[in-house]
Symmetry: C2
Subunit: 415 residues, 2 copies
């Protein structure tokens, strides 16, 4: 027996119903917000991701050579691909450009609960606008999607990478030297971060100030003690989100996102029920296109981990109604068989979901199969029905039966 | 500037609207027919495809070693993956099992018009039922999908691999020896097929009979001259499809599909407007699961080439109405900005697609942007409107404006 590759999943019919339901919900919400979908290839030149995240990323991704000797890899995320696409083909579209995507991503790492080698991301990018409104609009889509799923136990934590960068710069640490410190802070590795700051020549007070700042979390009032333009900026983003009707918001200056291209607002969403792998969304404003050879453009984006969000939804027991099928058509005799196919063809054309016996089973077995596929009605076609151009409609839940003229069946089943 | 990998495509907003529209249409049609979706990983163990198609297939696919030394590849098609999944997890589900899938596939070959290295397939499989009804039900889904797309110029050609196999067997050529001959016949390479048949010891008359049979095409009446059970079988499939209301059907005994696991009915659909790469769908009944270590089960399936089908739809100029967006909200002054975000939040919650100025543009520029994104209405919020708790609603096509109470806006825009 051949196994599926390690760390990947197959999705059966029940699971796919749930997945497509929430995928469609996210897509519809994005469209409601004026975002439009784009798609890029499953694999990319590896260079795209080493430019964005450094050469170390190759260790964590599915990188290989194709038959032409090109270094390619399965995409580990989609922002880089969208920016590549933007630079090569979309720079002439009116701005702001509001894009979203949904698709598989891949990473080569030890599989564990909530972490797969093939996983799914929904994400969005707003390209070409540098205002707090832009950042609020991005967070607003993430918030609206989570709200729409019915999830309740989550919190949107908003920070600003500029606050820590500014503090480090004032203490004499800027640019590339700041990055490893920010990465340690992102991972809450405080002793390592402190050591790096000391090594960079920062004094005790400055170091303590940075550490204390990363621990500023809570309602918007925690910003009262924060000086400078970044604090005012977060406040503005926060106010717009409130105007749009979102709650579940808090400030968290410990949101760092340890990648060099983040420039200002950063945010994350946790679903605490998930335990260690609780982050279901992350994003911020960034400047990436110039890394790939494009002009410098302001962007804000985020990605939602689709798999983890589904886990969080399940953990909360959010209800999901399965679609099932409306009618299962059962020919009673061989002579009724062709008539059964006429009926099923007519129902489907009329937009009524319908299935039909294709295994020449008896009526009893057919009705059991109809139950097993959650059919709402059985449509029984026998000699009696053939003569009167009718069918027997059986409500599968109540067992009630009635004779219905065939031509009236689609209308009757659409009710 | 980093390029997308050769032979792959990026899809922009306009193209994705079309693609998702037709993808959803196919998915809905499959659900109407009682098929349920499954999904499998983008990559598989390479062995899955060498078992199915022979070791030569490695030359044509994206095969590589992962970091653990496993031979994996990007899937070139999805039937093998679905059967692998069936064997490992789905054998206990009630039968017939009617499954469908939609996703990317990959092959490493020289890119050319209508052939990409990353391409999309929609497909379906019916597992566990060996009747003509089963084959008709599979062809019926393909036919219904093509009908639903609005495509007009295509023909469904139905054959039966058993007819040629039987003729070859009667002439003393069976099993593995028959396969290379069938493969040549599949590619219409008649001189090569004739040479192979002669080499296998077949006489002139038997060879001519085989060649003549592959050229039997036309309406159902061409079967009148065909002996044996296979001819009667096709007739039955044909009759059921007619009962379900499908036309565009013909018989073509030249449909061979040169793979060892096809067992009976085979069919193809061409869209002649596409020229050389005109085949948009192909399938048949097959027996594959025992190759992968499962029990022997009857199956019928097909795949529709999604990209080529879209090309055919475009070539026929099938109309497509773009969704656009309902409302673009424009704050006239800075003090109206928060109110604009309240309005856009309210509209989106009510299910009205709405966007809002996030670039602090003037009214004229904002209205031009609203035009460029195909907004149906502009919703203008200024000082006058703030005072009366109203907005100015502007029909973007006619330019007509009217004052509307804010709370009535969602209802008004949902009409």
């Amino acid at each position: 027996m051949i196994q599926r590759p390690r760390g990947t999943r197959d999705f059966g019919p029940e699971e796919m119903e749930v997945r497509r339901h929430f995928e469609d919900m996210m897509r519809k919400e994005a469209a409601l917000h004026g975002f439009r979908e784009v798609a890029t290839p499953i694999f990319e030149h590896t260079e795209l991701f080493t430019l964005k995240s450094g050469p170390g990323v190759v260790e964590e991704i599915y990188a290989f050579q194709d038959k032409g000797g090109r270094e390619i890899c399965l995409r580990p995320e989609l922002t880089a691909s969208v920016m590549r696409f933007f630079i090569s083909d979309l720079t002439n579209l009116p701005r702001p450009l509001k894009l979203f995507y949904f698709g598989q991503c891949f990473r080569y790492e030890r599989p564990q609960a909530g972490r797969y080698r093939e996983f799914f991301q929904f994400g969005a990018e707003i390209i070409g606008s540098p205002t707090p409104e832009t950042d609020a609009e991005a967070i607003g889509l993430a918030a609206a999607i989570l709200e729409r799923t019915g999830l309740r136990d989550y919190r949107i934590r908003i920070g600003h990478i500029g606050i820590l960068r500014e503090m480090l710069a004032r203490a004499g640490v800027s640019g590339d030297a700041a990055l490893p410190i920010l990465q340690r802070l992102d991972k809450k590795e405080y002793p390592e971060a402190e050591a790096l700051m000391a090594q960079a020549g920062m004094g005790r007070e400055a170091i303590d100030g940075v550490i204390a700042t990363t621990q500023v979390t809570g309602p918007i009032t925690v910003l009262d003690g924060v000086q400078g333009p970044a604090g005012a900026y977060i406040r503005e983003v926060y106010d717009i989100l409130q105007a749009m009707g979102f709650s579940n918001l808090s400030v968290d200056l410990g949101v760092v996102r340890g990648l060099a291209y983040y420039t200002g607002m950063v945010f994350e969403v946790d679903a605490p029920k998930l335990g260690a792998e609780k982050q279901i969304c992350g994003g911020g404003s960034y400047s990436l296109s110039e890394l790939f050879g494009g002009e410098k453009v302001f962007s804000t984006g985020f990605a939602i981990g689709f798999d983890r969000t589904l886990l969080a939804i399940q953990a909360e027991g959010v209800e999901f109604v399965r679609p099932g099928i409306t009618a299962y058509v059962v020919p009673v005799t061989d002579s009724a068989r062709m008539r059964a196919f006429q009926v099923v063809g007519m129902l489907r054309r009329a937009g009524v979901s319908a299935d039909v016996d294709i295994m020449r089973r008896g009526v009893g077995k057919s009705l059991r199969y109809a139950s097993s596929i959650n059919a709402k009605y059985a449509v029984i076609v026998g000699e009696k029905e053939l003569e009167s151009d009718s069918v027997t409609l059986r409500d599968m839940a109540s067992g009630e039966q009635s004779l219905v003229r065939a031509e009236e069946l689609p209308k009757r089943l659409k009710e």
